[in-house]
């Protein structure tokens, strides 16, 4: 585990999560896109919360997840 491992972030407005390993291809962010490389004015696709109000998390996925996030 290096300090540069791929990380996950959660929206503090609604709980939407962004996983660097998965990206958000449907929103133009290919798998592997680093959080730091996402524009500062990017907002949560579900609720519009600004990028700055996401929190980096180290929470594992439930069994069988992630499927394509609903």
């Amino acid at each position: 585990m290096t300090g540069d491992a791929l990380k996950r972030w959660i929206c503090l407005g609604c709980g939407f999560s962004y996983d660097e390993a998965l990206g958000l291809p449907e929103h133009g962010l290919p798998p592997g896109t680093r959080w730091r490389d996402i524009a500062d004015d990017w907002v949560c696709p579900d609720c519009g919360t600004p990028k700055a109000r996401f929190e980096m998390i180290e929470i594992p996925y439930a069994d069988g997840q992630p499927r394509a996030a609903a």
Binding site: R8, I10, L12, G13, C14, G15, F16, S17, D46, C47, R53, E55, I57, I59, P60, Y61, A62, Q65, P66, R67, A69, A70
Partner: protein, 249 residues
């Protein structure tokens, strides 16, 4: 060594969210309808306070004013959203098929998990007041779940009653957290033993007076204590009503 903080009622964040104008898609209802929200922790436009406490990220002391006042149906993931109704009547609707009314003493836990939507609605003229608590889950994208419970203040008088968590009779949470209610009708000492030194307890005074860790807390004041083997809560004269949220820190 135990650590602690005190948060006074008037130090919390405050929002008045109108059902007209820019927030009309967020909050609905009669044109006069509005929601007031006092936030213990940073949420929405309030970002000047604490980020949270342990796994808790939102603690909102909210009131829905005028008929039809609601948070319109909106999506969530992951967060465990809990509501504790204090006054009035809350209609809660969710995409697990739940649509029900909750009144004083009723509470629910809605774990949004892999995805769910909900609406929170006051259909009546009298204000609906509730405490909303959001916690991070211990796993992402769990199957969504919903459960409701009822706190009987008469049966629970002068003791600490578990509402959510791993205690018998409590609604289970997918998180190392517990929520309890303490109501008392006069002075008393109540001992709370957190699960470990790595746990903390956020105590919120719904009403009355509470002495804790050297501080005197009044209505809507709160405190967080962590690293303590035992916490002693002393209730004051008259009626006291406390919500206790224990979480891994």
């Amino acid at each position: 060594m135990p650590n602690s903080f005190v948060l006074r009622a008037d130090e919390r964040g405050y929002n008045k969210i109108l059902s007209t104008g820019a927030t009309a898609t967020y909050v609905g209802g009669h044109p006069d309808a509005f929601i007031t929200r006092f936030s213990s922790f940073n949420f929405g436009d309030y970002q000047d306070g604490r980020a949270g406490f342990g796994r808790v990220r939102v603690f909102g002391d909210e009131a829905f004013h005028h008929p039809g006042c609601n948070y319109n149906m909106h999506p969530h993931h992951n967060f465990i959203i809990c509501a504790f109704v204090l006054e009035g009547r809350l209609t809660h609707i969710n995409t697990l098929g739940g649509m029900e009314d909750l009144v004083s003493g009723d509470y629910y836990a809605f774990s949004a998990g892999s995805g769910g939507l909900h609406e929170e609605l006051n259909r009546y003229a009298e204000p609906m007041r509730a405490i909303y608590v959001w916690m991070l889950p211990d796993q992402l994208y769990l199957p969504p779940s919903y459960a409701r419970g009822h706190f009987d203040a008469a049966a629970g008088m002068n003791r600490i009653t578990p509402l959510l968590g791993d205690a018998a009779g409590a609604i289970k949470l997918s998180q190392d957290a517990r929520v309890s209610r303490l109501v008392a009708d006069g002075p008393g000492g109540f001992r709370y033993r957190p699960r470990s030194a790595g746990h903390g307890v956020y105590a919120f005074v719904i009403d009355g007076t509470l002495h804790c860790d050297g501080a005197t807390l009044k209505r809507r004041d709160s405190s967080g204590v962590w690293g303590a083997e035992e916490i002693v809560y002393e209730t004051g004269r008259g009626d006291t009503d406390i919500l206790l949220v224990e979480t891994i820190i």
